[in-house]
Symmetry: C3
Subunit: 136 residues, 3 copies
């Protein structure tokens, strides 16, 4: 359950078709890295920034920024792996250079999150939580 | 002082009247859970996501995402309680199922925050801070 | 490398010229506080909130919210200093009262971030990382 990936991009820099592919790939990458997370819990949101509103080094920005919020409790290699693969896959889909892609994940304790009306389970306890949640 | 609740919603999924009610209720829920926080310090922002920009499990999303940023130092039951009550109240106001609502809070150390030109007090020290802040 | 400063402002409350000045100043403030961070890695994004979408204490908000995401590992005075100076500088540029400005920074472990296809270095190890990164 839960991750949210917010993608902040320059206006019209990514086509609708590529957005859909990116959303599917981020969902796949997250679920493979975090077994037990159902795909339907992975949220991906694109936010388009108009030219006068995005800066990098004080200049107009070409960068795509992916800001993930995931449950805490994953090992460091898992977290590094997720952002590395998101950057690589984004570049492959869009043709953008990885120099213009920044991906990061912020961790939040499971107890700080409610989805479907229930406080999130710790990583690894999804099966029991989903069974209970579906029953209610 | 300080909390920011960012609500990311599908475009036109919440009416202006419901937004106002949600803003008032989030403000109330936060201030009751965190005594000493004046209502005027609670920020609520709605962000509308157009159909091609929001995904869940790789499909078009119906979800409402509430992302709170609060000062660190609250007990876990307080944090779980805030997000639980926000989800329940959101559903009651809008009629949306809690299955389509995700609420979370991220904590930030008080020393990382400035409001009104002054670094935030730790939780529980608001009264002294407000007295000093108002005098300056 | 890396910081992202997201500025959430009431619609049309900051001119294009002031946005550019703010982006340059946030870049300068961050790089002076965190030596070794090249200016071209500092991202500043403005997000405009329409009147019915921004609330403070349940009322229409006039507030400007600056939400920074920086690598972990900076001392508390550095973090407090960054947000204090951003608030002061924003007020000086725009003429807005600091009462209507909130600035905060959230820390993220370097290992949770990829930019230019490479996992971020810890603070203080930027020179080696940049040398290696430029060579690749």
């Amino acid at each position: 359950p839960m991750p949210i990936y917010r993608c902040t991009i320059p206006q019209a820099s990514v086509s609708d078709e590529h957005k859909e592919q990116i959303a599917l790939e981020i969902t796949r990458i997250h679920c493979e890295a975090c077994p037990g997370t159902p795909q339907r819990f992975v949220h991906v949101v694109f936010e388009e920034v108009s030219p006068g509103n995005g800066f990098c080094g004080g200049q107009r920005s070409k960068a795509s920024l992916v800001h993930g919020t995931i449950r805490g409790g994953r090992d460091q290699p898992v977290r590094s792996g997720i952002v590395t693969e998101i950057s690589r896959t984004w570049s492959k889909i869009t043709g953008q250079s990885e120099d213009d892609i920044l991906a990061l994940v912020i961790e939040v304790p499971a107890g700080n999150v409610v989805e479907g009306g229930a406080v999130m389970p710790e990583p690894g306890q999804e099966a029991a939580w989903l069974a209970e949640h579906s029953a209610s």
